[in-house]
């Protein structure tokens, strides 16, 4: 599991009660993905810095399943 800062909120899916709650858009991006990771920040700059630092390390991975292109768009545009 990847986490840059200790204050960040890290949640991975495959929780038992995840399907019972209303999911946000970010949750749908990592749901069903093995090792799906979304790190929460209170400030936008912190989130951008965390993402580009992970991208510089080569840790950004897009995982698609059949049919996800119709929902989330083409794979070429899936990565920032």
């Amino acid at each position: 599991m990847y986490s840059l800062t200790g204050k960040s909120l890290v949640f991975t899916l495959f929780r038992s009660n995840c399907s019972q709650k209303s999911r946000s858009f970010v949750q749908t991006l990592v749901s069903g993905v093995s090792g799906g990771l979304a790190t929460g920040f209170k400030r936008y700059d912190d989130a951008v810095a965390d993402y580009f630092e992970a991208k510089a390390r080569g840790l950004v991975t897009v995982v698609r399943q059949p049919g996800d292109d119709d929902i989330f768009g083409p794979r070429s545009e899936a990565e920032l």
Partner: protein, 186 residues
Amino acid sequence: MLRIVGPPVINYATHPNYVQHSGEENAPACLESQRVSPPPRPSYKREDPIAINPVIRNSRQPLKTWIDPLFLEELIASSRPFPDADLHALPESSQQLPSKSASQETAALNVNIDTHKLGTVNDVKTQTVMDGLAHSFQGLSTAGSSQHPQPPTLVAPPSPHTSYTRQKKKFYSVTVGKRCGVFSDW
């Protein structure tokens, strides 16, 4: 030709299968006796702290800064050293004064107070009246001080709790997922 026909109109008042029920004929009589009027609703009207606090309520009344003339006459009458004694028994200086009413006596006493002439019977009266007045003024002043310990302080209503309506916006950096990037979510 297509005709749109609505539902058939049934006159329930004249329909043979319609029986009007008021709902009370089947109710047992014991329930009528057991029917209890609901308790009175609590009054949510805010109580006036000034109305329920006697100290603050009395502080609204203006201070008694004048003396009732009737009270002053009674005070003068009660302050006579010899109430049964007539003015004829007094020394000549006081006998020269004709019999006056209480208000006239008050005016004479005020003159004596202003001139500070002591030693006559009227001055004795004046001293007694002054003592009584001082005592009454002292009582008024102490009563006023007890009624005005502090200005009334009104309690501000509690502020509404805003934690339920406050939402935090969070930003997520998705590094492993179906789409990667920075997303904002509420």
